[in-house]
Amino acid sequence: MSPDSTFGPDLVEVFGPSQSDGGPELVQLLTPEGERVHHPEFDMDFSAEQLRGFYRDMVLTRRIDTEATALQRHGELGIWAQLLGQEAAQIGAGRALRTQDHVFPTYREHGVAWCKGVDPLKLLGLFRGVDHGAWDPEENHFGLYTIVIGAQTLHATGYAMGMQRDGVVGTGDPERDAAVIAHFGDGASSQGDVNEAFIFAASYNAPVVFFCQNNQWAISEPIERQTRIPLYQRALGFGFPGVRVDGNDVLATYAVTQAALQRARDGQGPTFVEAYTYRMGAHTTTDDPTRYRLSDDVESWKLKDPIARVEVYLRRNGLVDDAFIAGVKDEADDLGARLREGCKAMPDPQPLDMFDHVYAEMTDELAAQRDGFAAYLESFEGADR
């Protein structure tokens, strides 16, 4: 099927030809070869400290991911949602956040969680099956992982509307003004909730950044199944700006997200950021991408690795030495060891725990069910509960 050019403008004329490399609109500040390039709108200066920080964050985030994947293979986790290849998109977005900015993640935002100070061990609890992801969403301004695709974009919009009512938008006080970032993927962009979130956010000018990591795949379905135009161009139809950024470029992702967040904090409303990236691993540890995609594609994206280009840039410009790189690696090894030990030591919940927190105020009928089950458990010979 091709666009019907006899009715209205040709889609190719309006939006340009489809671009597998991200197209000419892709905002990039650091090329895959580690060359620093400039952009008329989103350029910014980065200190050596910042760049080293990005590098460290990405290496540690990748270690969380590979460690968790290994823990799944060893039977310690039931499943793991991998982020391999998306480190720059997540660290760039995560480091652009201020303390008071609030994150609504999918189940893959391990790098953003890292930036927000959530202990990665807590992320493992959900995938191990000991809880549903029970960190405190307000403690780090990092919401709970949301499994139903796209549902959290509405929560983000409502939270942002709450911020408007709290008077923390557009005051000009950098300590006070806040924004929300809603993470989702290319697959989620087809969901009704995401489109409704766009409409509500636009209608109320809510301080929310819609941050879409377009990793090209929704399990086995390619981006072409979700959209016929570049995703970022959809924003225009909802009445707010959309930007496509190289999601494997941590500098560009940081710069674009930071600008979008500042627009939101200033009271100028929502922005759509499409971080153009690639899911190097499987959808989750239960998936087998060799059934639906070509290894050539994966190989070509390996050349765009988000960490390698930063390391090249840092080394070429004398901003790091071998000792620094080795130090980060040691830190990653320590983190990996801590995750391995911590995961295995995580206690299982007790059967009666399942009755807790269903309600703020437990109902008598649920209490009776719990008590009945407790008595049943105790009725077994040798029961020690």
């Binding site: 609504f104 809880d131 549903h132 992801g133 029970a134 405190d136 969403p137 307000e138 919401g143 709970l144 949301t146 139903v148 549902a151 974009t153 509405l154 929560h155 983000a156 919009t157 409502g158 939270y159 942002a160 509307m161 709450g162 911020m163 408007q164 009512r165 709290d166 009704g192 909730d193 409704e196 979130a197 409409i199 509500f200 209608s203 807790d356 927190h357 269903v358 309600y359 703020a360 105020e361 109902t363 008598d364 009928e365 649920l366």
Partner: protein, 327 residues
């Protein structure tokens, strides 16, 4: 004097107003709830008095309404959302059952959902399709939600305020055909019964009649008619559908030995099925007859010209009473 004669529509409006006066975190949101005051005028005048930030006209998207209300609740607000008609709640079903209902559980109690989802429900108003449904069982079946329904203006005033004050999400079902039907004396200085309690509204000795929402009026008329034939029916207004308040029900059935449940919703797996099971489990040796159910038939809601045949009326309730007595 603080007593006045009001309809259910008016008492709900007064209750919402008082809740908004008492707590600045209470927000209303829904389709047409602002300038228009809602299609049933339940929010009439509230936007004028509390402003557009607190009485929010929403885009026409039910999932959007409930989903954004989740975000507002996470931010510390107490959103009260209006679903315009019962049959329009389903686009929001995922947000209600997967998000609203589970947020406290998922977060180990860290994130509460003090939200009220108001739904005008039930038939009898001659409406087109999707405007006359009784979806209560869908929500009562969902752990994490609480489901209540008022049957009269006095309960409407108090129950809406109690639901808003509740830290759990409450599905608040309003019998739409009662909105403007009757007036009752409302004393706004009275002390209401707790929200999650049922109430015996007529004492009797022969059969216990269980009803809620729009069916309470029918049940009361049935009891009056039965009295002229020498039968004494006890009528209980359940008020709370999840959790159920079984104590007054069980106490009553142990005395009468017979129970009939009446609701507009489909009989199959409706509230009547759960009530019947619990009564049987807990009053087995007191029962003189099986618990009987009267409800909407297991068809889609029919065209309105025959809706009175679908809805249980006085005669069908009394028919069930007869069958119970003759068993």
């Amino acid at each position: 004097m603080s007593t006045q004669k009001v309809t259910l529509a008016k008492s709900l409006n007064m209750g919402l107003r008082r809740a908004m006066e008492d707590d600045p975190k209470v927000l209303l949101m829904g389709e047409d709830v602002g300038k228009l005051g809602g299609v049933f005028r339940i929010t009439d005048g509230l936007q004028k008095d509390f402003g557009e930030d607190r009485v929010i006209d929403s885009p026409l998207a039910e999932s959007g309404i409930v989903g954004t209300a989740v975000g507002m609740a996470l931010r510390g607000y107490r959103p009260v959302v209006e679903i315009q008609f019962d049959g329009f709640v389903y686009p929001a079903y995922d947000q209600i059952v997967c998000q609203v209902a589970k947020m406290s559980y998922r977060s180990k109690g860290r994130s509460r959902m003090p939200m009220v989802i108001r739904i005008p429900y039930g038939g009898g108003i001659g409406a087109v399709e999707h405007h006359s449904e009784s979806p209560e069982a869908q929500f009562a079946h969902t752990p994490g939600l609480k489901v209540v329904t008022c049957s009269n203006p006095v309960d409407g005033y108090w129950m809406i305020q109690q639901a808003i004050a509740c830290d759990d999400p409450v599905i608040f079902l309003e019998p739409k055909r009662q909105y403007h039907a009757d007036k009752a004396d409302l004393d706004t200085t009275a002390t209401p019964a707790p929200l999650f309690t049922s109430r015996v509204v007529r004492r009797g000795t022969d059969v216990t009649l269980l009803a809620y929402g729009p069916m309470v009026k029918t049940a009361m008329k049935a009891a009056e008619a039965a009295a002229t034939e020498g039968r004494s029916l006890e009528v209980i207004d359940l008020r709370t559908l999840s959790p159920l308040d079984m104590a007054p029900v069980l106490e009553s059935v142990r005395r009468t030995g017979r129970a009939v449940v009446a609701h507009e919703a489909h009989v199959n797996l409706g509230l009547g099925a759960e009530l019947s099971a619990r009564i049987t489990e807990q009053c087995f040796y007191s029962l003189e007859a099986p618990v009987l159910r009267v409800g909407g038939f297991d068809t889609p809601y029919p065209a309105s010209r025959i809706e009175e045949d679908f809805l249980p009326d006085l005669d069908r309730v009394l028919d069930a009473v007869d069958r119970s007595m003759e068993f």
